[in-house]
């Protein structure tokens, strides 16, 4: 499942009222110390250290990192596979996150209805959230299977008279196949967030619109969408983090060589390959800087859209 990051993004909490001049500096330091110490060692040091490593070459089994200035970055810009990997990552994200957001909203609308067994039916939508990328990868591997004893997808395609692709080997269909799996895994969380937002819309608002003659499409367009739109940024952020995970797990499990002609080599997979397979630690660190910049860039664009959306009428 995804690494959810949502509860924290709600409205900020007011600081406690300052009724006295009480200061808790000492107690706060002591109680926060274990948390911050771990955070410093395993998050801040790696971020700073990773930046340093990116300016070095290093064979982890022999000696210390050697300063090489911008050599890794020069190499990065001249490495044709980096462009392919960035392209694959962006494609994997775009063709994964956008459907997740749209289908997630659709599913939330669909199950935002009251009936006797609604709890059980909603569970059907949410269960994939309990699956790992690893387990889903193997389950779906058989569903996409090609060759004698087709997987169910290709069996259906061939019955429809289409030529079924060899999903995971094809240069065209491997990445979309991984996207389909990642979308399936990311939908539950998207659906949950949208459903919670839908339930905050007062029923009277919808009823009033219906009485005024607004059909289902107009209701979604003019009432529901504006009210759940702020949640879309949240859904997209959680999906992006989930797809970042998926862009390694699924690739490494289902296409362990990075796909035919690098067709499923995502940036994170390439980093893993360069560092752990070829032992190019400095180069791996430089690529990681690119990865962080890429995620940072995507999130910045998202924030921009959110800000523009708020300003629009």
């Amino acid at each position: 499942m995804s690494e959810p990051a949502t509860a924290n993004l709600g409205p900020s909490v007011n600081p406690p009222r300052r009724r006295s001049s009480r200061r808790d500096g000492r107690a706060a330091t002591l109680m926060m110390a274990p948390n911050l110490l771990m955070f410093a060692i395993f998050i801040i040091v790696p971020i700073v250290g990773g930046l340093y490593l990116s300016f070095t070459t290093w064979d982890i089994n022999n000696g210390a990192p050697k300063w090489v200035g911008l050599a890794n970055y020069t190499k990065m810009f001249n490495d044709p596979i980096v462009g392919v990997a960035v392209g694959n990552t962006v494609k994997f994200m775009l063709f994964g996150v956008i459907p997740t957001v749209l289908i997630g909203l659709g599913l939330a609308l669909l199950i935002n209805v009251r009936f006797r067994f609604v709890g059980a039916v909603r569970s059907l939508y949410l269960i994939p959230a309990a699956m790992s990328f690893a387990a889903s990868a193997i389950v779906w591997r058989y569903i996409f299977l090609d060759g004698p004893g087709y997987g169910i997808v290709n069996w259906v395609l061939s019955k429809l008279g289409l030529v079924p692709p060899d999903w995971l080997v094809s240069t065209t269909y491997a990445l979309p196949a991984l996207d389909i799996i990642a979308i399936w895994l990311s939908l539950p969380v998207a659906t949950i967030i949208y459903l919670a937002a839908l339930q905050r819309i007062p029923a009277s608002v919808i009823e009033a619109a219906t009485l005024d003659g607004a059909g289902p499409i107009r209701r979604v367009r003019y009432i529901i969408w504006p009210m759940v739109r702020p949640m879309t940024v949240l859904v997209a952020i959680v999906a992006i983090l989930s797809f970042t995970n998926g862009s390694f797990d699924l690739v490494n499990i289902l296409t362990p060589t990075g796909g035919t002609n690098y067709s499923t080599t995502t940036l994170i997979f390439y980093i893993y390959q360069q560092s752990f397979t070829y032992g190019l630690w400095g180069y791996g660190a430089a690529l990681s800087v690119l990865q962080i910049a890429l995620i940072g860039g995507v999130l910045a664009v998202l924030r921009l859209f959110a800000a523009l959306g708020r300003r629009a009428p």
């Binding site: 059907l124 699956m131 387990a135 560092s275």
Partner: protein
């Protein structure tokens, strides 16, 4: 007479149910396949309903020549998940109290820092985190695979901070009058009252830890530290041979995922609350 709106409602319920079944279909497919004979799964036409039910596939997945799941990996996954969630919970609930209720100078800085860290998942700092863990001499050890994940406190700390901040200030004032210090308040007041937040936190982090793949893969590569996600991942390469037929592989996945699915169904309300900050009716 059945009114038009009743028909509409029934149609919608039916549609919602059918789509739900489709969403969960890969899981049903997995369970049904795990009960078939090897020859049935190898049929040229994809099979959905088992001709006969073979629970023996499950024992074959955990023992004998066809064994794919080893007790050791199961134990490793349990140890990893348990300690990650326990230690991280301790850091997060105390940190949440500090940020929510204490008065000190660098509070905003810490809050922002934790917030930013949410967008730097461990796989983007994989190389340097590996190097730090290596330098500490912890690669291929339980602490080495557990502690760097424990350190990802951003989500949990902010979740508890949100919840604890809503607790009335008067409770803390009263405890203070009774002579309680912050540690006593943490144990006697915050931990019991923040149970719903703990539930939400545990539901989400147990699933995340149990399903984690990349960090254990690089930090615990020695066979006696192998975890279930790695075991499952390795099945892909093996399935091309004859030693691991599809029904046995599916039985193995059911054994690994069914406990989590059952746990998930039990804690679903907490999970939803953790994601949305509220329940879904």
């Amino acid at each position: 007479m059945i009114s038009k709106s009743q028909v509409m409602h029934s149609t919608r319920v039916l549609f919602a149910t059918v789509v739900g079944l489709l969403m969960a279909a890969p899981l049903f497919y997995m369970i049904l396949n795990s009960l078939m004979t090897t020859s049935q799964t190898a049929d040229l036409t994809p099979q959905i309903i088992p001709n006969s039910v073979h629970f023996s596939n499950y024992s074959e997945a955990v023992s004998g020549l066809t064994q794919v799941i080893y007790g050791r990996s199961f134990l490793n996954s349990v140890i990893f998940t348990f300690f990650v969630v326990l230690f991280q919970w301790m850091l997060c609930i105390s940190g949440g109290l500090v940020i929510a209720k204490m008065r000190f100078r660098s509070r905003t800085v810490i809050t922002v820092m934790l917030g930013v860290s949410l967008f730097i998942p461990i796989l983007t700092t994989l190389i340097p985190t590996f190097v730090v863990t290596l330098k500490l001499g912890l690669i291929n050890s339980y602490p080495g695979v557990i502690l760097p994940i424990v350190a990802q406190t951003g989500f949990g700390t902010l979740l508890f901070r949100q919840y604890i901040a809503q607790m009335p200030e008067e409770l803390f004032d009263a405890a203070r009058v009774d002579g309680a210090n912050w540690w006593t308040m943490l144990r006697r007041l915050v931990v019991p009252l923040a149970k719903p937040a703990t539930g939400a936190y545990v539901a989400i982090s147990v699933l995340t830890a149990w399903n984690m793949y990349l960090w254990p893969l690089v930090a615990a590569s020695s066979p006696n530290l192998e975890m279930l996600t790695q075991t499952l991942a390795s099945l892909n390469n093996l399935t091309f041979g004859t030693t691991h037929p599809q029904n046995i592989v599916y039985a193995a996945i059911v054994i690994v995922t069914l406990p989590m699915i059952i746990v998930f169904l039990c804690v679903q309300p907490y999970f939803i609350r953790g994601l949305t900050g509220s329940g879904v009716e």
